[in-house]
């Protein structure tokens, strides 16, 4: 075996990045000890939406497929986990089943969508998302129609019940960690390098023997599965699932989170998601509930001032 040359290494994590990640992890684990219950609940929402946005970034940033219907898989996961909880399954197994249901839906939708590109891909994903919302509205026996699924029991892990603010936070934080680890492992692997290669230059990758459509479908299914997993966490956090959870607004907000964070970096999508939840749910309260207006202003400002998102700011300063 010959020596690996310098300049080759996909999974290299610098000491500084490792230390920063460890500091963030400790801060998150300790959060319920120094935050007020409302702030902890907001942070819980940020984690759920952050994982969802990171799953979309796998599509947008890693393989270059911007979807306008990604909330469909969040919603399918949320409805699956909610329905299972209402029927007695409140353990983390419900999260895995939620991810599986979304992956299955993603397989069908991805099989249709990845054969197109550009504006056609956007329209197809938007249409599939709208269909999912319509089904949630009209399949009353399973989804509860426009009222949604409510009264969902608290999630359980063995003898523990995630019913109070802190335990629910830790339940969601654990799920967030699992989901992010899965996304990161793909992104940092040779497979992730192949996905980025297909994003940047499909012609070359096909000439090297990569069946680009299969890789795109794989990314689509994986992104749907992680979104479904986040949906399971959403059901546990809200204890309520409604058709708006899989509507266009939720998809658009996730895309906004990816753009404002800086596509291609999973942590940046989480940061973008946290900023959106913060502006909508915290800052919005201070201006008579005009959160959406603030989000609009933030988006316009971000497009002009941060074309590469928050992640691009250090590069811009150099």
């Amino acid at each position: 075996m010959s020596a690996v040359p310098a300049g080759l290494g996909y999974a290299r994590v610098s000491l500084r990045s490792g230390a920063l990640a460890a500091a963030i992890a400790v801060t998150l684990v300790a959060a319920p000890f120094y935050l007020a219950p409302y702030a902890t609940t907001t942070l819980t929402r940020m984690l759920v939406f952050g994982l969802f946005a990171a799953s979309l970034d796998l599509l947008v940033g890693l393989i270059g497929l911007p979807s306008l219907g990604h909330a469909a898989y969040l919603g399918i996961g949320a409805y699956t986990a909610g329905w299972l909880a209402l029927h007695g399954l409140t353990s983390p197994l419900a999260l895995l089943l939620a991810a599986s249901a979304s992956a299955l839906a993603g397989l069908g939708a991805g099989w249709i969508s990845v054969r197109s590109s550009g504006i056609f891909f956007l329209i197809l994903t938007l249409a599939i998302g709208e269909i999912a919302e319509q089904i949630a509205q009209s399949w009353t026996a399973v989804t509860g129609g426009s009222n949604g699924l409510y009264g969902i029991p608290a999630a359980t892990v063995g003898p523990l019940t995630a019913s109070d603010v802190a335990s629910l936070y830790y339940y969601v934080l654990g799920g967030f960690g699992v989901g992010m680890a899965m996304l990161w492992s793909v992104s940092a692997s040779p497979l992730g390098a192949a996905l980025r290669g297909i994003r940047d230059n499909k012609t070359r990758m096909r000439a090297l023997g990569y069946e680009s459509t299969r890789y795109e479908l794989f990314a689509f299914v994986l992104a749907a599965a992680v979104a479904g997993f986040a949906g399971g966490l959403l059901a546990a956090q809200q204890r309520l699932v409604t058709p708006s959870d899989l509507g266009f607004t939720t998809s658009a907000l996730a895309l906004f989170a990816v753009v404002i964070g800086g596509s291609g970096r999973l942590w940046a999508a989480c940061l973008g998601a946290a900023l959106i939840i913060g502006v909508r749910d915290v800052a919005g309260l201070t201006v008579n509930g005009h959160g959406p207006l603030l989000l609009g202003l933030l988006f316009i400002a971000a497009v002009y001032l941060m074309p590469h998102g928050i992640a691009g700011l250090p590069r811009r300063r150099k």
Binding site: M1, S2, A3, V4, P5, A6, G7, L8, G9, Y10, A11, S185, V186, A188, S189, P190, L191, G192, A193, A194, G197, D200, N201, T203, R204, M205, R206, A207, L208, G209, Y210, E211, S212, F218
Partner: protein
Amino acid sequence: MNELLRCQGLSRTFGAVRAVCDVDLSVSAGSRHALIGPNGAGKTTLLRLIGGSVAATSGRVWFGGADVTAWSQPRRAQAGVGQTFQHSTLFPTLSVAQNVSLALQRSRATPWWPLPRKPIWSAQADESLRALGLAEHAHRPVRSLSYGECRRLEVAVAMVRRPSLLLLDEPAAGMSAAESVLLTRTLRALPMEVTVLFVEHDLDLVFDLATRISVLHLGTVLATGTPSQIRENPMVQQAYLGSQAKEQRHVARA
């Protein structure tokens, strides 16, 4: 010698334009086969039809005894067809080594393994970079390479998987004379298991390297033969070599 590649009645039209028209071509295993002809003769389109990035309007392509006409480009690549492009398709933000590693990765048994692991490298990768004078540049990002270095890296990436058929589209375009000599030497040193089919305008390189030459004109094969047969063919003289010689004389006078 065994036949590795055969095209039969191969045609490709783009709207009203017949880029490649009823081409019959046979390439022997181990040969260095050149495709020459004036601009617009259909050389690049023919290479793409063989590589699978462009679908044939009619006709068939056999590779290693199998009819690969309906095969996708990636499937042909997996079967042993390597190729370079007229314009660089390297990844500018990746290092030289990473560009090579991406090519190697696909040839491994588990390209789907979705977990970080040791970077993929091989002695073959070292050898390809060394042969093309790029070993000391392995760590450099591709965007910092010169044009000629990029062209050489294109060839190294195509060679690294040891394809049985190497399709090169103007590999020496934009190279300096020294780089062109290095490329010729490298291609000549390839083992006989690697067959090379290349398009090139540098006739010195063509006649130096090729064991067989096919001349294309207006999408059809005008002649095929050894370099000396092609040089003496009056039809080829009239359609291509004559005009090349005239052009070269004009350049010399200027």
